[in-house]
């Protein structure tokens, strides 16, 4: 693209660059602040003397995070959960969306299936029934309790289904004529074309599994099995809440008084993995792979 350089255009580019830079800075400032806090002495943090540069530099918070013996196991549980969860999600999404993307004359009862799935978006069983189901299935304390209850995200499935509908039907027909069966068509012809949609729903699924702290809290019988976000949630309880709940139990109050910098360190460490996922997924967000595959 070549733009004609009018004064108005130049003004727009300058303004736009400044605006986007400021937005980017506004996004990154809290991280820098958090990082500075995590390297500072706790009394300096309490006095609010830390802005963007550590005061009383110390790495004690990071030592605490790794030596406390809880951060790393929790991180491992989280990574394991994300891997399992995303694989289960994607497999189920693809094999569910593929038949549903066909017309109802090709798939018997397609609309009934569709209703069956969509109704779960609107209505869910509620916390206690879900908990009882998971308990009775004997999933408590296992990684499957975190993966299976949301094994098929319907919303992502619908996105995938609509994407499949957008692909030219001729590609599939060509594969069929060349002798590919249903599975060969799906996995060897369709799947490579689905990468943008897979990347999108995959990212949803990664973020969902990574950020979910509540299910870890209720399905794990032992804090050793907490995923990272559940563990972090236990660190970030606000002080007023503690005072209200402690009802004069001094020990409880004192326990929460001095964890500020350790908290910052662990929060920062927890954001790193999710930040690292983005660049690697980025390249799959390219559409247009279908361009030119069908000569009309």
């Amino acid at each position: 693209m070549v733009y004609f350089r009018s004064p108005a255009r130049t003004a727009f580019v300058v303004f736009n660059t400044i605006f986007l830079s400021l937005t980017a800075i506004a996004c990154i400032i809290p991280f820098i602040h958090l990082l500075a806090i995590s390297f500072s002495g706790s009394s300096a943090v309490a006095a609010g003397r830390v802005v963007f540069w550590p005061v009383d530099f110390t790495i004690v918070s990071y030592e605490f995070a790794f030596r406390g013996g809880k951060f790393l196991p929790a991180l491992w549980v989280s990574i394991w959960r994300v891997l399992l969860g995303v694989i289960v999600n994607l497999v189920l999404i693809v094999i569910t969306a593929y038949p549903l993307s066909k017309n109802k004359d090709k798939v018997f009862g397609r609309n009934i299936y569709m209703m069956y799935f969509v109704v779960t978006i609107i209505i869910n069983g509620g916390l206690i029934p879900t908990y009882i189901v998971v308990t009775k299935l004997g999933l408590l304390n296992s990684i499957w309790a975190l993966v299976l209850p949301g094994a098929l995200p319907i919303f992502s499935m619908i996105i995938m289904m609509n994407f499949m509908r957008g692909l030219p039907e001729e590609i599939e027909q060509a594969a069929m004529i060349d002798g590919a069966g249903v599975f060969a068509t799906l996995f060897r012809v369709m799947l490579p074309l689905l990468t943008p949609a897979l990347a999108t729903v995959g990212l949803f699924s990664v973020v969902n599994h990574w950020n979910d702290w509540f299910s870890g809290l209720i399905y794990m019988q032992d804090s050793k099995n907490y995923p990272l976000q559940t563990y972090l949630h236990t660190l970030i309880i606000n002080f007023e809440e503690v005072i209200r709940m402690a009802q004069g139990d001094t020990a409880k109050i004192l326990a929460y008084m001095n964890v500020r910098t350790g908290r910052a360190a662990q929060l920062f460490l927890a954001t790193i993995p999710i930040l690292m996922v983005y660049p690697f997924i980025q390249k799959y967000f390219t559409t247009g792979l279908v361009l030119g595959s069908v000569k009309g």
């Binding site: 002495g41 706790s42 009394s43 300096a44 309490a46 006095a47 609010g48 003397r49 189920l92 094999i95 038949p99 066909k102 090709k106 798939v107 018997f108 916390l127 206690i128 908990y131 009882i132 308990t135 299935l137 004997g138 999933l139 408590l140 304390n141 296992s142 499957w144 299976l148 249903v182 599975f183 809290l217 209720i218 794990m220 019988q221 032992d222 804090s223 949630h233 236990t234 660190l235 606000n238 002080f239 007023e240 005072i243 009802q247 004069g248 139990d249 001094t250 020990a251 109050i253 004192l254 326990a255 929460y256 008084m257 500020r260």
Partner: protein
């Protein structure tokens, strides 16, 4: 074609789900009972297994290789009464987890509940009767702790049956409030004590003019300092008291609360309180103290842990806050509000074969932490591991709370006079902490020193409040009426919001009457009626 494929896919899905379910065995197996139906008397039998649910203690530090299901306490329980404690689950959100366990009916054998859960479980008949266990097995020490608190025991009884062992609470001496002020500023201005509200105002003024304080006293968005200081005005905005007509009323509806609010509004106008306190949490509020911009606030006995070590690190030697009695608006005795604070009860699941084990384990807990040093059965060195590193908080249901009245007396007199006389493991622990600060200047002990290391330390004053009968117990002493539980904190929040407006001058003091009227309509009257029905004479 497609139907066949769909069939295959569904079959695969089915296989996957079945495989997943069978891959992990259920964790809640019924304990295999120890076939012996006779009452147990010797330790020759099979050990008794007790499954417990525990709240996680954030700061607990276990010895190498130990954890909640294997530590010095569990070993002791095994050795003393041949009980295997098995941990069913541990969680940091105890109430959520327990509510789910109650809903799904999969309870541990023994666990702790709050008063709401206790009533739910009693209604549903899910708890074992502990009457005979308590009568037969309670040790003299346990009886000595429980019996003076009949009012609390009543809350754990139904139809003459005892269904829970109350954990009791720290004594009244830990519930009172104090005025905390910066030590070097007090000395610099020659202020010895603050008797009246006028004295307090003079002190704030002196700190502003002589020490460069930006404002007089600290307040955060929860108005905690206002509530802690209400006693100065003989106002009790947080508890239920006898009204002028003999009926029980909420303290907030009495004119003393209005007077207190008027004073705080005046202070706000004069610039004694930070303009934007309504946006600050306690961390933001304390920031001003650490920066030397304010030198007083009203808070409970533990404030020294907040404005002790961190003050010294930021502002240098001698800048920590010390406690004083609250100033008073007149010559009448100040009374301190006391909420009903037995928040925890230990219970046994209905159908568990050995309910007496709960009582025996609690006996053991008391014996180690309270009696063993005095009896000479254990030495101080042997007891210390049991109550350091928060090890005395990890036993879950097998625990009672000791009143610290005697410990405070022992420790403070030992430190002040130098004659060491310590009656319990707790006392020894506190004493050693304080000496760390006094002898080595180690900041680790400063918080404890400010609680019980000198003549006007907070808990020492707290003891004197108990001695002088300055405790004003709330009339709702025990179970709350259902109406109160239904409203939760909504009514309190309504009042707090209104108070904030008045203090900030957004509303005139006359707005207070409107506010109380609104509170009555929103449910205050209903709750008041319910309280009078339950506790009225």
């Amino acid at each position: 074609m497609y139907k066949r494929v769909l069939g295959i896919v569904l079959t695969i899905a089915l296989i996957i789900s079945v495989a997943a379910c069978s891959s992990s065995a259920p964790t809640t197996e019924e304990p295999k009972d120890t076939t012996n139906q006779e009452p147990k008397d010797t330790t020759k039998q099979e050990p008794i297994k007790v499954r417990v649910g525990l709240p996680e203690i954030v700061n607990a530090k276990f010895a190498q290789g130990e954890d909640y299901s294997n530590n010095l306490w569990t070993k002791l329980f095994k050795e003393k009464i041949n009980v295997d404690v098995v941990v069913d689950w541990i969680t940091t959100e105890y109430d959520t987890k327990l509510n789910l366990a109650i809903a799904s009916g999969e309870l541990p054998d023994m666990f702790t509940v709050n008063i709401v859960q206790l009533n739910q479980l009693i209604e549903a008949d899910m708890l074992e009767d502990l009457t005979s266990s308590y009568e037969k097995y309670a040790s003299p020490s346990l009886i000595k702790m429980i019996e003076p608190n009949r009012d609390i025991v009543e809350t754990a009884m139904r139809d003459g049956k005892l269904l829970a062992i109350p954990r009791l609470h720290y004594g009244d001496e830990t519930s009172t409030s104090f005025l905390w002020a910066r030590k070097d500023w007090l000395e610099g201005n020659g202020i010895k004590e603050v008797k009246t509200i006028e004295d307090f105002e003079k002190m704030m003024e002196a700190f502003k003019t002589n020490n460069g304080a930006k404002f007089g006293t600290m307040l955060d968005k929860t108005l905690s300092a206002f509530f802690e200081m209400a006693s100065s005005f003989h106002a009790y905005p947080k508890i239920w008291v006898d009204g002028p007509d003999g009926k029980i009323v909420h303290g907030a509806t009495l004119p003393e609360t209005k007077n207190a609010l008027a004073k705080w509004a005046e202070w706000y106008k004069k610039g004694y309180i930070k303009k934007d306190f309504a946006t600050m949490d306690s961390a933001a509020m304390l920031r001003d103290a650490y920066n030397g911009e304010v030198g007083t606030y009203a808070q409970q006995n533990w404030a020294g842990w907040q404005v002790g070590a961190d003050m010294v690190k930021n502002k240098g030697e001698g800048t920590y806050f010390v406690s004083m009695n609250l100033p008073s608006v007149d010559d009448n005795k100040i009374l301190y509000p006391r909420q009903f604070s037995n928040s925890v009860y230990s219970v046994v699941r209905k159908g568990y074969k050995h309910p007496e084990v709960l009582v025996e384990l609690i006996n053991t807990y008391i014996d180690v932490l309270n009696d063993s040093i005095g009896n000479g059965t254990m030495t101080l060195e042997e007891v210390l591991p049991f109550n350091t590193n928060d090890m005395h908080h990890i036993t879950g249901p097998f625990k009672v709370e000791f009143a610290h009245y005697q410990d405070i007396k022992d420790v403070s007199s030992s430190v002040i006079t130098g004659n060491k006389l310590l009656g319990s493991g707790n006392a020894v622990l506190f004493y050693n902490e304080i000496l760390k600060w006094k002898n080595e200047g180690d900041l680790v002990g400063l918080g404890r020193y400010l609680q019980m290391g000198h003549e006007t330390a907070s808990l020492v004053l707290g003891n004197s409040h108990v001695d002088n009968e300055q405790i004003n117990k709330t009339k709702v002493w025990g179970a709350m009426p259902q109406a109160m539980l239904d409203y939760g904190t909504t009514l309190d929040d309504l009042l707090t919001e209104g108070y904030t407006k008045i203090i900030m001058g957004l509303e005139d003091i006359s707005y207070y009457d409107t506010l109380i009227e609104a509170w009555r309509h929103a449910g205050g009257d209903e709750v008041t009626a319910a309280v009078n029905k339950m506790y009225g004479k």
